[in-house]
């Protein structure tokens, strides 16, 4: 019996204790600063200049929400009147003793709440995409699937109008169900059964990857056809989407970048900006997977689970570092 399983558990425990001690220390320092400056932490955060390019105020605001027992982000959004973010403003001002006369702080706080609201809506939008199943009858879905094919296999056309019969071109069946789909790594003749829990979101991400980084996507497709260590490209793509969705909903690692994109995009294009962010993350994860897969040079596709966990571990670590909640920052930014 090996004890290898014990090590990660131990590591996790020590990390947990360390964090706990850190938060205690931080709370004490924060109280001290509250006392000296006469301002609550929230007021200090929102006193910053919101126009400074990286919206660092919001990052601090998010960290503040994560660390303080009140208010939870969901409670800020749980407003029966259509989740209008600023509705929770008065209670926040009261609770953190922010003078109502301080317009600057109030405006900043409102902006933070708006950003929080945006995040919530964006996550909802993505979630609803994941629950939208691919349907052959849906022309938009079909167009996406065809776009994926054309991006991955340029120059290999389908029959022009699939509904009009048996026309063939380039030896490919009409772009509907058929064995052609396994050429880009679907499991069988019917891709619609492969999107599973990721729904149309999984397909959208694949298309975006294949169109925005075509060389990379195609070289990965080529790699996926390796005689020994082949892997199904599209199905791997759905796995990557599932991980990106996890990062988006559980880990809170993408929030700061999403909000930055939202502010840069002038709000109106908020959803597209957010989509672009998650699609870039998707493409990055794919590239990491490709590197690790080739470096590991596995015996066959059954080695996918451990390699895939390794890729996820690496990506998570990278995001943690980028998010910048290193210990020293937690203690200095109070």
């Amino acid at each position: 019996m090996s004890r290898a399983w014990l090590m990660p558990t131990l590591e996790a425990w020590m990390l947990l204790w360390w964090r706990w001690a850190l938060h205690l220390l931080r709370a004490m320092i924060s109280r001290g600063v509250d006392y000296v400056t006469g301002k609550s932490e929230l007021e200090r955060i929102c006193s910053a200049d919101s126009r400074a390019p990286p919206f660092s105020m919001f990052s601090r605001f998010l960290r503040f929400l994560r660390l303080s027992p009140y208010p939870s982000p969901s409670s800020l959004l749980a407003d029966p009147t259509g989740r209008e973010a600023s509705a929770s403003l008065p209670s926040l001002l009261l609770r953190y003793k922010i003078p109502t006369s301080n317009i600057h702080v109030q405006e900043n706080l409102k902006e933070c709440l708006r950003a929080l609201h945006y995040l919530h809506e964006f996550k909802d939008a993505v979630r609803s995409l994941t629950t939208t199943a691919f349907a052959w009858e849906n022309q938009d879905h079909l167009a996406l699937l065809h776009a994926l094919w054309h991006a991955l296999k340029p120059g290999l056309a389908f029959a022009p109008a699939p509904s009009e019969g048996e026309g063939r071109k380039g030896g490919r069946e009409g772009g509907r169900e058929g064995s052609v789909w396994s050429e880009i790594g679907f499991q069988g003749r019917d891709p619609s059964t492969d999107f599973r829990g990721m729904g149309i979101f999984g397909l959208m991400q694949m298309v975006s990857f294949a169109e925005s980084r075509p060389e990379k996507a195609r070289s990965l497709l080529l790699e996926s056809e390796h005689p020994r260590r082949w892997f199904p490209w599209a199905v791997t793509g759905v796995n990557v989407s599932r991980f990106v969705f996890e990062l988006l909903t559980e880990d809170a690692v993408l929030e700061e970048r999403l909000v930055e994109a939202w502010r840069e995009g002038g709000r109106e294009g908020g959803k597209e900006g957010g989509m672009q962010v998650v699609n870039e993350v998707y493409a990055d994860v794919w590239e990491t997977f490709g590197r690790v897969w080739v470096d590991t040079d596995p015996e066959n596709v059954m080695a996918f689970p451990p390699i895939w966990s390794e890729v996820q571990r690496r990506e998570r670590r990278r995001w943690r570092q980028r998010r910048g909640d290193e210990s020293w920052r937690l203690l200095l930014e109070v």
Partner: protein, 187 residues
């Protein structure tokens, strides 16, 4: 360490069972495993490779292997046959077009010597979908009632829905009892 504790250990080891879940892709193998284990089932992706889970059920430790069902992966199934006590074959009842493929794969699988002693549980999954044929019809289509098939094998078919969880407990319960009566008779 006395004799008793050694005996206890041996006994504990004996209470383990190894189950293998197979079936065509999109049959619902992983969803069944997760649902039975009380996990979230809304964001499942196609299984590349396999999942392993150890569950405790009625005092037995079940080592469950759930292997992907994609056609190109099926050739690796045989790497997981060794020491299998029970085979769970999952059928997407609503996928009428592939029931024939499903029948062929199952029959080929049962020719395997290493699986000769394993109990067979067929889950006729997705019974919650409208128009899904009943377990009885599935049994006929898969040729489970053929004499040559049934000869000497412990098997049953159970209708289930991995989405709602209906039937899962019933099927796994049968499997565990059947294996226990075969290999732990001395207890």
């Amino acid at each position: 360490m006395g004799l008793l504790s050694i005996l206890k250990k041996v006994k504990r080891k004996e209470k383990e069972m190894r189950l293998l879940i197979l079936g065509l892709d999109n049959a619902g193998k992983t969803t069944i495993l997760k649902k039975f284990n009380g996990e979230e089932t809304s964001t499942i992706e196609p299984t590349l490779g396999f999942n392993i889970k150890t569950l405790e059920y009625q005092g037995y430790l079940l080592n469950v292997w759930d292997v992907g069902g994609q056609q190109t992966i099926r050739s690796y199934w045989r790497n997981y046959f060794e020491a299998t006590d029970g085979l769970i074959w999952v059928v997407d009842s609503a996928d009428r077009r592939r029931l024939e493929v499903c029948r062929q794969e199952l029959h080929a699988l049962l020719q395997q010597e290493k699986l000769a002693g394993a109990s067979l549980l067929v889950f006729a999954n997705k019974q919650d979908l409208q128009g899904a044929p009943s377990p009885g019809e599935i049994a006929l289509t898969l040729g489970l009632e053929d004499e040559a098939f049934a000869k000497g094998r412990h098997w049953t078919i159970v209708g289930c829905s991995a989405m709602t969880g209906d039937g899962l407990e019933h099927g796994v319960g049968w499997m565990v009892r059947d294996i226990a009566s075969r290999i732990f008779m001395l207890n």
